[in-house]
């Protein structure tokens, strides 16, 4: 399988105490385990089961996903920023792989 590529959109700058919107997308087939291939065999389930967003080590948002989340899972959520720092995004695959991405934000 092609290596899933995470894409994250975080504003570069924010004012202190502002609630910002973060958008994330990762390319992944999210194989539900319900689909059958041409020979009629069940395609085994392989999804991203957890997504996590941390800001300087503190948890901001977490999501447990089930097979009903669409392919290339998209997540939009908010974060309140008080100081400059780094957002860390983590996706965990059913096969144990972990995909990561980081974004810096400057608070003025």
């Amino acid at each position: 399988m092609a290596n899933p590529k995470p894409r994250v959109k975080v504003p570069k700058k924010a004012s202190k105490g502002e609630v910002i919107t973060i958008k994330t997308l990762i390319s992944h087939p999210m194989e539900s385990g319900q689909r059958k291939d041409k020979e009629g065999n069940l395609v085994p389930r392989q999804i991203i089961n957890t997504f996590k967003c941390e800001f300087d080590g503190q948890l901001v948002f977490e999501c447990d996903m089930d097979p009903a989340v669409s392919a290339n899972p998209y997540m939009e959520f908010n974060a309140k920023v008080e100081n400059s720092g780094t957002f860390k995004f983590t996706w965990v695959d059913d096969d144990g792989s972990v995909y990561e991405s980081e974004k810096k934000i400057t608070v003025e």
Binding site: F55, V69, K80
Partner: protein
Amino acid sequence: MTFTRRQVFGLTAGAAAFVAVAPRISFAATDDTEAAIKAFTGGAEPATGTVTLDTPEIAENGNTVPVGVSVESPMTADNYVESVLILAEGNPSPAVATFHFTAMSGAAEAKTRIRLAKTQNVIAVAKMNDGSTFIDRKEVKVTIGGCGG
């Protein structure tokens, strides 16, 4: 009123088919959904209001249905939304996703894209940090289902 032989056959066959098929489709999934809600709330009956589910009325493609959820809450360290459970009662397995928020989230809002197998109710259950729970349901009409294929 008299029935012809043909009408009698048609009616009995139709009724039998309905009785045999209908309950299995409509109730089995709902039971799973109720069980999932109970497990999430810890047996409590969630109140309506506070949580708002934002779904399209008609989804042309069941493979990617945009779903948003927002919960009214000040989102401070002592009063915030802990988690929101999204369920689709007509899917082969009703669980869709669970969002976990923290006071750092600022606003208890999230959007994602989900799969829906057919026209059905989508449910959002929100749990606050004090343990109170709220529910919202929206029907989504699905033109092309998003499972299998």
